[in-house]
Symmetry: none
Subunit: 216 residues, 4 copies
DNA sequence: AATGAATGAGAATTCATTCAT
DNA sequence: GATGAATGAATTCTCATTCAT
């Protein structure tokens, strides 16, 4: 029995180690740059062993993303403590979101790959299904804060919470995407770009747009 | 002489055909998914011939992007006619941008695929430099309108035109990206989404955020 | 344990098989004519497998050359036993060199093909650095014998050992090269050629040139 | 008639121009580095036109080499004027040969390719046959000087002219080959090499070896 | 005679995945 | 469970040669 338990523990630990390595590599080199070879080397396992833990590369990446969302959601929830108003809550929620993407660029890159190459990713794996569920959880946090803001008067009454949550989230996606691909952007845009400014500017714009103050 | 003229015509036509094929393939399969082989097959030319028209894969992609911007920019410029204020101009500029992406989903898919794979490209080709110039032209339209809005009092004076133009553009990228992948999104996000609403909501938010009215 | 030992044996054997095939192909077709495809086919391995054993084509070629020098050097060293003088040693060294090329025409053809195509190689691989070291070892034998000859008075005192060693080696290259291509030469040079005589004649000339006797 | 003559003149001029360009390119980039594309561009002709003047790449190269030998032979002959002895003549002959290879490295590279890749070159062309004849002419010069040296007593009587001429020529091939591939050599040999010294050293050694003075 | 667009058979190298041990 | 050697299809790019005009 104890043996089985230890085995299970070892298995979990190894799985986590693989996820750690994969996460770091995706962060450093992007989805395409991450090689199964490198993951194996990083965890000091053979390439074959990787396939005992994950069906294929996409499943491994989905598992990385899921684990990140599992971290992101409590991280965002923690932003809600000590918020004066719903508007403040929305602000802090996205601030956290932004912080998170800066610290875990892999999550974002994965999410984007998922969006922009969606059709070509292998979404048949269980790992992928779990990941999907998490996205809904995250959006719920935003919706709830918007509603709270309307209740406490900090957010305009004519805002429709769910669509507006999606507007907030998706516009954030664009800003953060650009921030994560600064090198690629700097190559393509012939003006100096201050990527550090981008997120604060966007957050500020979003707060102004939602605020009940100054509404006609 | 007629021969030279015809040759020139044929050459241009062939070039356009290659661009068409490449555009479609990148839109459908992403930058990595687009294979020079597939492009060649699609235009019924040999692989080698592609390289008579474009230095390499990156130059071909840059040419596709340039061609798209060549259409987009006049289209956006046309939005500036009959605009009452700078704020109105910004609004209409992005409205056009949005319309364009709806009508030319390929453009957007192309731009996104190219961006979100986030890898450095070969920027040594002439084609890439031309593309880079066009991106600047497009941004200039936004910057100019922001300045005009500050001059006529419709836009807040504390807005810094270039960074704000980037914020506007990049946040739009996210919204439109999601709008173009509505099916993938709808299937994956476990809440009902009304994509038609997304762009107007975002436009509205942006205008509120920039407007000098109701500024503290 | 036995498993590890067998694996190691197999790995070495496979490596040697690849080297054999590459050596033969370069000898027969020159450096450019040797294709990684052909090597793979010759050893009945997939192309990819070659790259598990050697970083790239240049590293493979460097390894072939190294292996040949590993045989040649002890063979030349054996010539130094029972030599009366330094001059005698130089003579016997090149006699051995010549014998070696007659017995291992592949070595020479390989070295020549590699040299006469005159292109820069990828010298960043470990394999190349090892090869480079071996070339130095071989030359050292000649340099040492020249010095010995000067010490014992058999070789002219005004000889500068290193440059002279290079002169000896490189002039030998030409003679042996022609000797190995006797058929091609005989067919192409419109005078009767006695190739058997060529090496002895050259050796004799070299000894006369180095000898301290008869120096002005 | 005049028309035919002019045509012929033009044709010859164009042929020469192609040879000039090819010669320069082989010199600069080696046999493999020389591209038919580059030749065409250099002479401002289309690639197709090249094939109206030369059967294929190898025939073009053979023609370059032939033309060079056509220059080399009178050049070597000119060395014979004002020579005091046969030994002096041999010395000056090879001195000229060496000068020539330094100034026309292409000739040499071609000759070597011909030797070391002989079997794979297309020797069926007429250009190639002409080239072969020239080689014999050149050797005859050396043979004649050796005989003269024996007659005037400057060269050892026991030298057999034809074999010795071949020894001289072939050993020179090696030295010059290395001199022409200095870059490749410098990469492979881990000792500092002074290529300028190599040819004089070799010439000196050859003269000592042939000289009747100091012969036993 | 001249053109130059088109060809297409390769070339080296990569990498996710499999499978005998 | 773990290994790691082997795979082989895929990918970008090259270049001597051809041929309709």
């Amino acid at each position: 029995m104890a043996v089985a338990a230890r085995r299970e523990r070892e298995r979990t630990a190894r799985r986590e180690a693989i996820l750690d390595a994969a996460q770091e590599l995706v962060a450093a080199q992007g989805y395409h740059g991450m090689r199964m070879d490198s993951v194996a080397e990083a965890v000091e396992l053979s390439k074959g062993t990787l396939y005992l833990y994950f069906e294929n590369k996409d499943a491994l990446c989905a598992a990385v993303a899921t684990r990140l969302l599992d971290t992101l959601i409590p991280f965002m929830e923690s932003a809600l403590e000590n918020t004066s108003t719903g508007l403040d809550a929305v602000h802090k929620l996205f601030q956290k979101y932004s912080d998170f993407t800066q610290e875990n660029p892999h999550h974002f890159r994965f999410a984007l790959a998922w969006l922009s190459e969606g059709e070509r990713m292998d979404d048949s794996t269980e790992a992928f299904q779990i990941y999907r569920g998490r996205v809904g959880d995250m959006l719920s946090l935003v919706v709830a804060s918007l509603k709270r803001g309307q209740a406490d008067g900090s957010i305009r009454a004519d805002v429709d919470p769910l669509p507006q949550a999606l507007q907030l989230w998706t516009s954030f996606l664009g800003v953060v995407m650009v921030g994560l691909n600064r090198e690629a952007m700097a190559q393509r845009v012939p003006v100096p770009m201050d990527f550090e400014q981008l997120v604060p500017l966007h957050l500020d714009a979003m707060v102004r747009a939602l605020s009940s103050e100054g509404a006609s």
